[in-house]
Structures are given as C-alpha cells and as structure tokens.
C-alpha cells in the first residue's frame, strides 16, 4: 500500500524537476496528498484529488497527477487546478493562490459521469443537444504523436499541451501515421 510519505516524495521530486513548488500551507498540502493517496488506493492511480474521476484509466488518463493541464495552468495562473504545484511567487506569498478555472475540455469532463448508466438508466433523454457521457473507454482513439523539436513520442488521444521533455508547445507535435504495406 502506498504511504503518505511516498506520495509526498513523489510530488516533491516532480516539483523539483520542473522548477515548481508545492503548496505552501502545510495543512492544505496534506489534504491534497491524502486525496492523491486515497485515489491511488481506490482507483489504482493518483488522479487529481479535486476532480471527479471515472475510475476508468483510459478516461482519467489526462487527470492523473501531474495532470495534462498542470504546465499551462502554472504558466497562466501560477498554480495547477488543485494548487498542489505552484510557481515561486505564489509559494513565497507575493501573489495570492486563487481557484484556477477548469481547463479540461468539456467533452472529457462529461465522460466521467454516469459511465455505467449512459445508455440505459437515464430517466429522461436529454432535451437539448448537449454532450452526453456515452463515450466508452473503448471508443477512445489513441494515436502516436511526436515532438518536432526534440523527438519525444507519446501514445495518447491528443498531444500534450507542452512537451514534458523540451517544453515545446502543442502546435509543435505532429501525428505519426504508420502504413503497413505487405507485398508478396
């Protein structure tokens, strides 16, 4: 079983690698780390403690801490969505730590809800045309992406916002298409 200390060490090491800081309030930080521990115990992976997870790895992949949205959020707001990772000026109290708006796309948020009842048990069909949580993990199309700047390759639904290796922006990622040509 994962210990709170292990969760803390993992976050500290990741913060150091990326030049971030952990939330300066020890009680708030402990709540976040305990949330991550709890999620790792119940889901098998440390999904964001402040977001609703589906419990299905493929659907939650983008919100596993450190989530896909951390780097752009820290860049723009100085903190990630749950405020586990913060920028130096926020850590030092020079800038207040405020709630960060959700950057996760709506279609991904919606997939978290009612995954077991999507088609069957809804009492009434949705009246207006809105995104419904009917997409199952099996329908997610994973693709190969590579960073044109450093060559980093990732097998995901979408390329990352920022390359974890060289920090290149999403626009610098391109899809790798593989064609198999068999001739006898």
């Amino acid at each position: 079983m994962i210990t709170l200390e292990k969760v803390r060490q993992r976050a500290e090491s990741d913060a150091k690698t990326y030049g971030y800081y952990l939330h300066p309030d020890p009680d708030f930080l402990k709540d976040l780390l305990e949330g991550l521990k709890r999620n790792e115990e119940r889901y098998g992976y440390p999904s964001c403690p402040c977001r609703l997870a589906s419990g299905k790895f493929e659907l939650d992949r983008d919100i596993i801490c450190p989530c896909d949205y951390r780097d752009p959020d820290v860049q723009e707001y100085g903190a990630c969505y749950c405020a586990l990772y913060v920028r130096k000026d926020l850590y030092e109290g020079k800038t207040p730590i405020l709630p960060v708006p959700e950057r996760r796309p709506m279609e991904k948020q919606v997939r978290t809800y009612g995954t077991a009842v999507a088609q069957s048990a809804l009492e009434k069909p949705a009246e207006k045309a809105e995104v419904t949580p009917q997409e199952s993990a099996a329908e997610i199309k994973l693709k190969l992406w590579y960073c044109k700047q450093c060559g980093y390759v990732v097998f995901r639904e979408e390329p990352p916002y920022i390359c974890p290796i060289c920090k290149a922006k999403r626009e610098l990622f391109a899809e790798i298409k593989i064609h198999v040509d068999i001739r006898g």
Partner: protein, 94 residues
C-alpha cells in the same frame, strides 16, 4: 444520495454544496461555511452511485454551473464554482 446536513445559526439561505471527498478546496469551503455558522447541506459526488452522479451533472448544468467542485447552489438558483470566498460571502450576505 447521501446528503449531509450541517447545522448552523444562519439559515437565511438554502445552501447545497456539491463536493468531492478528497478535494482540499471543497474542505476549505465546508470549513468556511461552518466557521461562519451557515447552515448547509453537502453531497460528496465521488461517493455517489453512477445514477446519482448523472443526476448531479444534469442539475449543475441546468442551473448554469460548471462541472468543477465545489459547486455551491444557493437558494436553488446561483451556482458558485470553486471556493470563491468573495462571491460566496456576497451571495450569503456575510
């Protein structure tokens, strides 16, 4: 659906908080309401059944809110997403 009621001297407004049991911001919001003696109810959405989660999703969106937590519904109308102390204080007149 497991609705937890927290008693408080100030029951001028009907307050319902959709929260996540592991969320530090939600905990902060719960403590803020409690410390200000606000009577409120809360539901930890992650502990609900899939059917209830879906009902909550529809309820939040119907009221014009976002699917981020805490989502605080005041007097069945206003939804405040996130622990925005100024907005909560204004809506609750505290």
């Amino acid at each position: 659906m497991d609705i937890v009621k927290v008693s408080g001297k100030n029951n001028k407004h009907k307050v319902l908080m959709y929260a996540i049991s592991t969320c530090a911001w939600c905990k902060m919001a719960k403590n803020f309401l409690k410390n200000n003696h606000i009577e409120y109810e809360y539901i930890d959405v992650d502990l609900c059944s899939e059917e209830d989660k879906e009902k909550i999703r529809q309820d939040i969106l119907k009221r014009g809110g976002h699917l981020s937590y805490p989502a605080i519904v005041i007097d069945d109308k206003i939804v405040i997403n996130g622990f925005r102390k100024d907005k909560i204080s204004e809506a609750l007149e505290i």
